[in-house]
Symmetry: C2
Subunit: 332 residues, 2 copies
């Protein structure tokens, strides 16, 4: 089968509602700075009423990654569930306008389109409160196995373990990808998400469901329940064929059984909002791998995309990543 897509992503379809806030606000509302908490509709209302004026921007972790892949000039597709409502239209418009194939039918009943209240503090750190809404209704029937079989890499977010049926959709997609001899990649998403689903994530890595794992330091330590990074990294290398650990301003580590490769972060002028840093790193790395780049070149593409996205508000690129890659001699 010919490759139709470089990367197909499956994730929660979410619109971000971004507002600047003070550290005090986080404390007062019992939020863990830098983490993503799942909230119900009642708490979503409470938080929204208390927070300041906001900006609405399409988001969702894997969706951001896939938009990044398209911005690099890649052929990209996304699978995720919105409702047929105002924010659902916004999500669908934005991802299609970015050049991504998005064919998941919207829900006509049930909860409204999911949203994430992203509270950005003066240090650029973001604290997230997600009401999954319609994203909870992603179902195995939403997976088009032909599309998955036609994608060089199928990319999945760990957050998919939270909605009820999404993990079945995830496993259906992974099976279809492997049947077509394609790669399956997973991001661990968030340290608290790992805490909720540790055993299942470990099983996915151990049983070969996942070929390529993305994690940041906190997620990796949470996965192996250790405070020591080197211990966690050693455990990871025994189990995962290929893993990338992102380390914010310290760059990233590409780990395989026989090698640990460190790649620096790309230089930036000023951190405005770290939302999307990990998502966009994954975009660059995935598009690199999908197109046959070596690990170092792929990691440099990831670093470049992460640097772009943290220098402005919002988790999707504002500049063409393809042009940026060309300017940095990383195209091709």
């Amino acid at each position: 089968m010919t490759v139709r897509y470089d990367v197909l992503g499956i994730g929660n379809a979410i619109v971000d509602v971004l507002a600047r806030t003070e550290d005090d606000f986080l404390v007062r509302h019992g939020m863990r700075k830098g983490a993503m908490m799942l909230i119900d509709e009642a708490r979503a209302t409470t938080i929204y009423e208390a927070m300041g004026p906001a900006v609405e921007i399409s988001g969702g972790s894997a969706a951001n990654t896939i938009v990044g892949c398209a911005s690099f000039g890649g052929r990209a597709a996304f699978v995720g569930k919105v409702k047929d409502d105002g924010l659902g239209h916004v999500f669908a418009h934005d991802i299609r306008a970015a050049g991504v194939a998005f064919d998941t039918p919207p829900g006509s009943a049930g909860p409204s389109t999911g949203r994430c209240y992203v509270l950005v503090t003066a240090d650029g750190e973001r604290t997230m409160n997600t009401y999954l809404g319609a994203a909870q209704d992603l179902h195995p029937r939403d997976i088009d196995t032909d599309a998955v079989a036609g994608a060089a890499i199928t990319y999945l977010e760990g957050y998919l373990w939270d909605p009820k049926h999404a993990k079945e959709a995830f496993l259906k997609a992974a099976a279809a990808a492997h049947a077509a001899k394609r790669l399956v990649a997973l991001t661990l998403s968030d340290a608290f998400c790992v805490d909720r689903w540790r055993d299942e994530f470990l099983a996915l890595v151990r049983d070969g469901t996942v070929d390529l794992l993305f994690a940041n330091e906190a997620e990796l330590r949470s996965l192996y329940q250790t405070a020591d990074f080197d211990t966690a990294l050693a455990a990871l290398r025994r189990e995962a064929p290929l893993a990338v650990v992102t380390r914010s301003e310290k760059g990233c580590i590409v780990a395989t059984r026989d090698r640990v490769l460190a790649v620096e972060a790309a230089p930036i002028e000023r951190v405005v909002d770290t939302t999307g840093a990990g998502d966009l790193f994954a975009a660059g790395f995935l598009i690199g791998i999908a197109r046959g780049a070596d690990h170092e070149r792929a990691a440099r593409l990831g670093a470049l995309a992460a640097a772009e996205v943290i220098q402005h508000l919002g988790a999707r690129p504002q500049a063409s990543l393809k042009t940026l890659a060309q300017e940095h001699g990383l195209a091709g």
Copy 2:
């Protein structure tokens, strides 16, 4: 009656949908760069489908001004019509979260909340396409004459001449303000808006309905149908007791019968998006006048607010204008 509000604004309640675009796109879709065009729902759909990924931010010309007044620490109120829908909730949340009193009941039937597709080109210029939606249903019964009588200044946007009943609401408010010996201010909004309603706007100035007029150069030339700025300014000074003409990077002119005062623009690093420059200039000038500042100090407050808003995406301030005014020795 004691003053409850420094400024009460009446205008179209609009959510801005901002996207970056190329000049080509404007040409292809028959848009006049820098202007605001009114569009119907069908054209709104066509434009939205053709335009790139966007960001949703509450807008509306007078609403932006009133949020600016609140950011200066002023007591501010807004009157405008949204529908009880997703974007309507966004508009109401954002203006209240900015500290503005907003009590206009939302529509339960009829068109959805108004929106403006703002296309920002590389030069920072914005071209606007407005679907008025629910804003068309602003009605004289939405005017609380007690609130108007309790506002030092009632501020109206010229765009209100487009919806059917809004001008009656406008005139009801102006009468209530004058009955309470308060000031009435008007912005001409847009040169093409002036073109649509020239005679009525001239009548408002001539019959004393308006005490303070805001215009930019193009609007002023359109009002007096002359290409010559000085001719237009001379005509204005004969008719308006107090007028401010904004001139982008050349600053502004405060004109009265016996004096023409030029005030420089505030220095900026880089123009990102000119959306809201005029709206925020008005915020600073109005709050200055409401608090008894002289014309020069009021104009400097306006210039400061305009400079803040053009250095980021979106038409509402991201920094505290009160703090900014203090830093520039303009507080008090």
